[in-house]
Symmetry: none
Subunit: 199 residues, 4 copies
DNA sequence: AATGAATGAGGATTCATTCAT
DNA sequence: AATGAATGAATCCTCATTCAT
């Protein structure tokens, strides 16, 4: 016996289906994935997509927001870890793993105006910065590194894999290890340019 | 009255104009830059573009080929340098600098079928591998690194900058330095996964 | 707990709310006013509108019917006035005033098939014809004018205002006066074409 | 042997075909006539319409402009007539005749921002005002009438016909005669409202 | 070889209407 | 009776590509 609650449950399910379908389509076809294809993949009518997301851009913002939120959760959890250096490496590992399945990095380019996305991005940046500071106090990473640097480099291991002819699903771990080795405090080269501002 | 020779000269010039205009447009607007805008920027008619490049994809392949060729030239020149470690760093620096001006990375996604582009990419990969080997023989970089690894990581300094809210034009130098620090042989962490195959 | 009676009362109220909201929306946005906006303005769900009016066209027909009914009431009241000429002018004045607030003229274009609207229109035409005849018997207006003529010209004062760059709300009175001056019997020009048939 | 000139001639012809088709479609279906239908009627592809008119609104502006230009030509020609009163009547006659075939009055509603249309409208208004002044100096029409009044009333004879169940193509002449009788100077009623401003 | 007009498939979005709850 | 989610046809417009000149 379906209640009003059930109806809402159906709509919620459609929303999830759409987000999932959109992620897959965007991953496969990039930003030009069509709303029609997303709807088809989700098994709903084209119009339904606009009930849930007023605009294609809104849909993208929702996806990006979801990922940022997930990354924030990861980072906050790691903030209480006992070994700050390991925690930072763990953050980068989980981040890359989260991103690896759906490389939505390019989606960010469109969400530059969405205040919700921007707020989440700032929050993630702040949490990462806190983690970086802790790791530096523990002398686990080089002292000239900033949270902004880590934020910028966070996705590069996954991205590096994209330039390979036959990307294997695990190679990002290799590139993360190399980059993290660049974070070591011992024998670090003096950096040629000052750290970029965040805001 | 233009002679056959002159006409050919004009056509060649148009080709160059179109390639230059296309690079600028793609840099500014990404893959969605329109053929019409490129033609307008080059100062030729829309139809002319298709006389030179059968397809928008062909045009992109031509651009990407040009950049690969430039990178190959750089790499080959550095092959004869006396300090192989410095040469490798120099390669990555010049590559990033070359890319920074016209980020054509996204263009690669489309050229996966173009045999000319693939051949050039293979050639670049081979030259980089030779440089890497020399640097390893000189013990300038860690021995577990492969040419494929360097190829994959080559663009990441530039890409990292794209994730910053206010990208400053020089920040890639900072990220290249950090990543290159990860190439140091001393105290390198054992890499968790094997190097990916190239072909 | 609403009883059957209460529910019916609610439904009636909803119908009125919808009609009022629809008039406002149509006035503001023309025929393209959306059913969704009307529902929102009325404070009911979109589905409810279709319980009351099977079709958007039906809703429009209901509005037009209401206005025709109002005009009929005005005309019938004036049928008993002592000065038939003044009564005719009064009819045109009240009509224009009624129309001015909600220009529903454009709505008529759609209701050409609705028998209820057509019947009301015929009734209004008949009443106007009676008023015209009385005015002619009193020699207040030119004898070659027909009820059909007056019906046709009835809305023109309001419409004339629409062609002005800055319409002022009272200008229709000016145009009604001018047109009504064309109704004067003295010195009337012979009309070049016969009066149109009504049905 | 077709030259560049011929090609241009073809394009010009398509432009005319499109304008004609658009007028017919708009006349039949109102502002909601679809671009696709217009293209089909003109016998060209949908895309062609946008080569000639960047926007549906632009197309409408072109139509309205054409009509305003025609009316201006009529008015200017009549400015030199010997009998100014007859000239004014003639203007209204030719205007109505011009408009009768394609009632594009409603199209004006959309062109409120198009400076070209606005300029033509102002020019027409000015010319009409000149004609009115001349007619008043000749005591052919009432002295309290303005060019703005005539502009506003210009289309009403045609519009009146639209409210008839079976509009006959000539009835507008009847309504023009009636309205023009309202312009007579003798026995004119004092107008209840001041003449509206133009700009 | 160059031009630019024409083509038509494809894209995002809107909206009247239907339907499950 | 009311709700609001889902539908899918229709709309304006864009753009790579073709073609007549």
């Amino acid at each position: 016996m379906p209640t009003g609650r059930n109806q809402r449950a159906d709509a919620t399910r459609n929303r999830e289906l759409l987000l999932a379908a959109a992620e897959e389509e965007f991953t496969e076809k990039g930003l030009d994935a069509s709303v029609a294809d997303i709807a088809r993949r989700a098994g709903v009518a084209k119009g339904t997509i606009f009930r849930h997301f007023a605009t294609k851009e809104d849909l993208i913002a929702a996806i990006v927001s979801g990922h940022f939120a997930a990354l924030i959760a990861i980072a906050e959890r790691l903030l209480t870890a006992s070994d700050p250096g390991a925690a930072l490496l763990q953050l980068l590992t989980e981040t890359a793993d989260n991103i690896r399945q759906n490389d939505l990095l390019f989606l960010q380019s469109i969400t530059g105006n969405d205040s919700r996305v921007l707020a989440l991005r700032d929050e993630l940046h702040a949490t990462i910065t806190a983690l970086v500071t802790k790791a530096q106090e523990a002398k686990a990473i080089r002292p000239d590194l900033t949270g902004t640097d880590v934020f910028a480099l966070m996705c590069t291991p996954v991205h590096a894999v994209d330039f390979l002819p036959n990307p294997s699903p695990d190679s990002w771990k290799r590139y993360l290890a190399i980059i993290f080795d660049g974070f070591r405090p011992e024998g670090a080269t003096a950096l040629p340019v000052a750290a970029p501002d965040w805001g």
